[in-house]
Amino acid sequence: MSFETLANWVHNWLYETLHPTVALLVEFAIVGVLIIGLFAVLGLVLVMMERKVSSWMQLRLGPNRIGPWGWFQTVADTLKLIVKEGMTPNNVDKLLFNMAPMLVIVVSMVIMAPIMFAKGIQIWDINIGVLFVAAVSSLSIIGVLMAGWASNNKYSLLGAMRSGAQIVSYELSAGLSILVIVVLTGSLKMSDIVMAQADGWWLFKGHVPAIIAFVIFIIAATAETNRAPFDLAEAESELTAGFHTEYSGMKFALFFLAEYVNIFVVCAIGATLFLGGWMPFHIGNWEGFNHVMDYIPSSVWFFGKTFLLIFVIMWFRWTFPRLRIDQLLSLEWKYLLPISMFNILLVTIIALAGWHF
């Protein structure tokens, strides 16, 4: 039984037994609870993954005390963060200070709406899915700016300002590399984009422009999520913790969680656009092989691809030094932006001539 039939069955059952409005509300509640669960699990898993990846690259063991191989370390950390006091320093702008983590978390949750987690599992197949993601993701910068300004701390202010300059810049090349796929597909809808890759992922059948777009997208995604080597907003060795210097306890945890969920979201988008979303991996006419691949559930494919991209982004973080602010912007404005503009032209020619497979 696939998720789709299950969802339809629940849907029909609710509408048969309850008043339509109530049924809708119940449906919302179910979705909300599911998403909160996903959210929390994602946070825990990703933090653990980051720790293990970093420790293995640094020839350490990583957390290994709590639970088997330390798998419950993040749970313990969450408990610790809940028990910690959420400090509000003197002279902060209380409203903005408390609103900032909320805003960041709302943004990272709302952005999950158009993502296709598996075949038929999607909260809202919005017809401008890609545009929606691009638009909403840029809202998180407002949360960062709010946090930096409200904190009444110089490090925070500097970090927030850096983050502002950085995120708005990298939005452009991220948007342009998404456009490459939109041109190839001819639709902004997530489901259409995934379906278009039924006979092969765009990364493979999109020729050179798709590969260039993929690389640029990964770079821009790293920058948009404020990850090293683009973590200037936090820049540990320069600004101690950047925009969330003054945050502690649960408010800090919300920022932390939002950061990891954002990573998941951008990687999910990358996997959907370039790696075929939940589509299994097929090789040409190898019927037997393709058949085996089809047996792997679609959600496994989706999460596998997403976590592969997440791993790449973590790999970046634990390998590269941080860029300086002017280098960061010149990378965007002098390299990524012109290249992605030419890439759009290239893909237009390829799409119009029908050279892609």
């Binding site: 020839l59 350490r60 590269f320």
Partner: protein
């Protein structure tokens, strides 16, 4: 910047980044073979400390509960921090003469810098450095140690 330079910049840049990623990626795959951390409290049984490791000053006692300290205070003088305090007493020798001997050897571990000067200064090799390092206690006064064991006396023939 010519166009050629522009593209060669990109190429060399990406190449250098890829070499770096190769190194960390290699470690990621081989981490179980090359791990460098030690699981400290778990490896107490297998932990080997160098025999010369200086962890604290001890006074060696033999099976008869005898030590070699004459109470000459050479170590007390050699210590730069006033770590050692020697209290002497007068023993009666079998011939009935009074002889200076050690009463209490007080050692302030909390002041000690493990410089080994006292051990070097000791003419009878009565004290030595022990390779212990787990010295943490809850009360600082517990670090003030009495090195000669109760009831111990000086070994025969040590002058």
């Amino acid at each position: 910047m010519t166009l050629k330079q522009y593209f060669s910049n990109i190429f060399t840049g990406v190449k250098s980044l890829a070499t770096g990623m190769k190194v960390t990626g290699g470690y990621f795959l081989r981490h179980h073979k090359e791990k460098i951390t030690e699981q400290y409290p778990d490896n107490r049984d297998t932990l080997v400390l160098a025999e010369r490791f200086r962890g604290e000053v001890i006074m060696t006692h033999d099976d008869n509960n005898e030590h070699a300290c004459t109470g000459c205070t050479a170590c007390e003088l050699a210590c730069p921090n006033g770590t050692i305090k020697i209290i002497t007493k007068f023993d009666l020798t079998p011939e009935g003469k009074k002889k200076k001997a050690l009463d209490t050897f007080i050692y302030h571990l909390e002041l000690c810098t493990m410089c080994n000067l006292c051990v070097e200064a000791c003419p009878t090799s009565a004290i030595t450095m022990a390779p212990t390092f787990e010295h943490s206690v809850f009360d600082r006064s517990q670090l003030i140690k009495k090195l000669n064991k109760p009831g111990s006396k000086i070994r025969e023939g040590v002058e």
